[in-house]
Amino acid sequence: MTDAHLDIRQVTKTFPTPEGGVVVALDSVDLAIAEGEFFVMLGPSGCGKTSLLRCIAGLEYPDSGEILLDGSRIDDIPAYARPVNTVFQSYALFPHMSVAQNVAFGLEMERLPKNEIKSRVAAALEQVKLTGLDRRKPTQLSGGQQQRVALARALAKQPKVLLLDEPLSALDLKLRRGMQVELKRLQRETGITFVFVTHDQEEAMTMGDRIAVFNEGKIVQVGSPQEIYRRPVNGFVADFIGETNLIKVTVGSGGFIFPGGGVLARELLAEDCEVPAAGECLLAVRPEDFELVDTDAAVVGEVVDVIFTGGLIRLHVRAGDQEIVAALPSHGVVVPAVGDQTRLRPITKAARTVGS
């Protein structure tokens, strides 16, 4: 890709451990992010997503590889000279400065004229709805307000790329939902490329135009939330994004033989996934993709638990040596009770192979 806005090429980053070993935080990572994109880097803690963010910011330097912004290398210039800004997880506000002074700091470093600084600070504070609090000290603000100051401080610089390092992780759920919506709005309004790091898959799905799923220093999959949810490339992604059943099946002549003896016809599998000719493989099926059937069941087993969750009823079914979770609509079906034998099948083209 040559038209990438932010282009990460073969970036590797290692850290020494206190015991004298080496931890590979990033292992030859390639990634191309387009201009004006809301890009989410998702993964469990220690997967390398924050290391990559810090390499882009210039707070860490990659061991090897290149980072290009609009075609020119930025990985060798110091953090203070890069046209990217960061919203830190801990907010990192300057405790000795007022809200307005915090937001003005980055602009003063650019030696902008006083009146321009003033108007840009006011505009940034208005953008994050903090007008009127400019004389307060950070300690006099709530966590949510501090978050907004951190955001205004970075946005005032009008960066080409805004990096956000788990910015919402310290907020409570309600505040967090509100900020998610607001961050999306800010990104649309400013048109700035956002690179957002999170370990929360729900947050990633809500916010991202595209998501990169990280695991153990590598990018496992890049795609839109729908692609990643519907077409996970392997068991890790299927399991990490949303809830999924990973079912060990045997490939037979008639189709896939489930634990417990049920068979799923080959034609019912999603079209674009590889099927081994024989042997065992893993099938991924979302709980909501099961339906109750009378004949041709893939899952035949005893109901061990029934949980009512409102719109859906969750059935835990023991099939052979595996417990499978199905989420069925709570209306219009006769729900089996604990101890009943039941028959389930993935709806057409919902089950996918995800390797073995």
């Binding site: 707070l59 203070y80 960061t86 830190f88 907010y91 300057f94 700091f105 970075a154």
Partner: protein, 273 residues
């Protein structure tokens, strides 16, 4: 405030106040600490030439102190030495603390030990050493020698609060400053120094108090023209103890109490800000 404040009894391993001698010991210690000070203040208003025989109230010894050229000269020497040594030692301690940040862990521990060790070395040893050193490299005894010696022994004291403050600082604001476009010099001026200010102030005050108070080193290094106040007071009581010594001591007491109060108020203003 919540109306249902339940105060749990504080758990202690040993409740000392139950011991029979606790009250008596506490009172004795406090009397031992503060009675001498009260006596100094009391006898400073004594009319009699002999300090310990009370004959009547008088301000004459204060008048004597304020008009005695020798005392005023000694006070001036003390203040000059203390002010210059405070500035120099605080700057050097600040530089050392910031410099140590860049060192590897092992080097930092070593450097800190090297700079902190004089706190545990008996001052008489340092004083003898300093005198010998100055005589060897031919630094004439007097103001300059005094300032150099005071600066040296004040550095560990100035370093203590600065380093404590530095250790308590979070790295995040510094990263944020870099990210917002500040170079190292701008970070030092706009972030590091303001955040360290309380530690620097505390370090400077400690250094000032230690320098003003110093007797042993000053006694060895001062030479004839640069007598400091503690050295002069020692000379006064050797000849005879007049209430003038008490008056002078009372003035010093008021001075240090004022300084202490000023720091306390300054901290309160800073916190409520």
């Amino acid at each position: 405030m919540s109306p249902v404040t339940t105060s749990r009894p504080r758990r202690r391993l040993v409740n000392l106040s139950n011991f029979p001698l606790f009250r008596g010991t506490s009172i004795a210690v406090l009397v031992g600490m503060y009675l001498p000070l009260l006596l100094v203040v009391f006898y400073s208003f004594n009319q009699n030439r002999l300090a310990q025989i009370w004959t009547g109230f008088s301000f004459k010894w204060y008048d004597f102190v304020f008009h005695n050229d020798d005392i005023l000269r000694a006070l001036k020497n003390s203040l000059i030495v203390a002010v210059v040594a405070t500035i120099l030692s605080t700057l050097l301690a600040l530089g050392a603390a910031l410099g140590m940040l860049r060192m590897a862990r092992s080097g930092r521990v070593f450097a800190w030990g090297l700079l902190g060790a004089p706190l545990l070395i008996p001052e008489i040893v340092l004083a003898v050493g300093t005198l010998g050193f100055f005589l060897t490299i031919k630094v004439p005894l007097g103001h300059v020698a005094l300032i150099l010696a005071h600066t040296a022994f004040c550095i560990p004291f100035a370093l203590l609060p600065i380093r404590a403050r530095l250790a308590g600082l979070d790295a995040a604001p510094f990263e944020a400053a870099t990210d917002l476009g500040a170079n190292e010099w701008q970070i030092l001026r706009r972030i590091t120094l303001p955040l360290l200010a309380p530690g620097i102030l505390a370090g400077a005050l400690l250094a000032f108090a230690i320098s003003l108070d110093d007797f042993i080193t000053s006694f060895f290094i001062a030479g004839p023209g640069a007598t400091t106040l503690p050295v002069y007071i020692f000379g006064m009581i050797r000849s005879n103890v007049t209430p003038a010594v008490n008056a002078l001591s009372t003035l010093l007491l008021i001075f240090s109490a004022t300084l202490l109060l000023a720091v306390y108020l300054l901290n309160r203003i800073r916190r409520s800000d």
